[in-house]
Symmetry: C2
Subunit: 142 residues, 2 copies
DNA sequence: CATACTATTAGGAATACTTCCTATTTAGGT
DNA sequence: ACCTAAATAGGAAGTATTCCTAATAGTATG
C-alpha cells in the first residue's frame, strides 16, 4: 500500500499538481475497503471540502486509474473504486451492494495461460463473483 | 447449446409467449459469437422485423438472462450479450472491442474456494481480461 | 374457428451515471 | 511576489437503460 507522500511525489515528478481535492480523494480511498461509487466519494469529501465538485472526483479517479493506483469495477451500471490494485476477486452482494476482496494466487497463472492461448496482450483483469453476502444470505433462508 | 424448439417449449410451459421478436433475438444470439450490444442486436433484428423496438430487445434480454440462456458483460459502460453461459473467461480488446471466450476449467474450483472463504452464496461469475487482441496488438508494436 | 384474456409490444419519455465545456482559481517554478 | 499552465466548480450535454401506456397479438378455451 502506497503512502500519500510517496504518491504525491510520484505525481509531482510527472508534472501533475497536488491539490487538496486529490489528497482528500486518495486519503479516503486508502483508508476504506468499501469500494465506494464516485458519488459516495463526492459526498464524503464534501464534508471536508464543501466546494469540491463531482466532475473533479471523476477526473481525479481517471488520473488514479491511469496511474494504476485505483481499480474500477462496474456494478449495476455504476462504477465502484478501490485502492486494492493487486490481482484479486471481487465478491459483490447483489442484495446490499457490498463488495469484498479475496486474494487468489492462481489468477495470475490463469491469466498467463489465457494470454498464451488467445494471443492477446493482457493489460488488466477483472474477476467478479456475484451472490449474497453472509448477512444477506441469512435473510433469504427461511 | 439449446435448440430453438426446446427453448420455446420451456418458455411456453412457464407461461411465457413465443413471439417472432423473441425468436429472432434468440436465433441471432445462438448463431453469433460476437458478444453484440443491445443496439447491435436491435439493428440486426430490424432487417427482418423493421418494427421491432429497442425496448423489446432489452426486455427479451432480461428474460433470457433470468432463464440463464444468455450472459451479460459490461464493457465501457455498455452491456454485451452472449449465449455462451458456461463458466469462461472473456477476453476484451480495448482497441477494437472484440470479445473472445476462453474455457478454463479451474474457474469453477476458484469459485468454490472463494465462496467458502467469504461465506458468500455465489449466483453468477464474471471473468474478464482486457488487452489488445492479436490483430490490434500488431498495430501497436513498431 | 371465434372469443376472451392477458402477456407483450412499439414508441417515446424519463432516469441515471458519466463526460464535456469554460470561465475562474490555484499550484508550483522562477 | 509573479507568471503560467494545470486544475477546478458548476452546470450542460451525452448516452445507455428503464419506465410508461395504449395498441397488438399469442394462446387457452369452448
Amino acid at each position: 500500500m502506497l503512502q500519500i507522500e510517496e504518491l504525491a511525489n510520484s505525481l509531482r515528478t510527472d508534472g501533475f499538481r497536488i491539490t487538496p481535492q486529490r489528497i482528500a480523494i486518495v486519503e479516503y480511498l486508502l483508508k476504506t475497503d468499501d469500494h465506494p461509487s464516485a458519488e459516495r466519494i463526492h459526498r464524503v469529501i464534501q464534508k471536508k471540502y464543501p466546494m469540491v465538485s463531482l466532475s473533479t472526483v471523476y477526473k481525479t479517479l481517471d488520473l488514479l486509474k491511469e496511474k494504476k493506483l485505483v481499480n474500477e469495477i462496474e456494478v449495476d451500471g455504476e462504477a465502484r473504486f478501490d485502492a486494492h490494485t493487486d490481482e484479486h476477486i471481487n465478491l459483490v452482494c447483489v442484495n446490499c451492494g457490498k463488495i469484498e476482496d479475496i486474494d487468489e494466487d492462481s489468477l495470475r497463472e490463469i491469466q498467463t495461460r489465457a494470454a498464451r492461448k488467445s494471443k492477446y496482450m493482457i493489460l488488466k483483469s477483472n474477476f467478479e463473483l456475484f451472490g449474497y453476502c453472509s448477512s444477506c444470505k441469512s435473510k433469504f433462508t427461511v
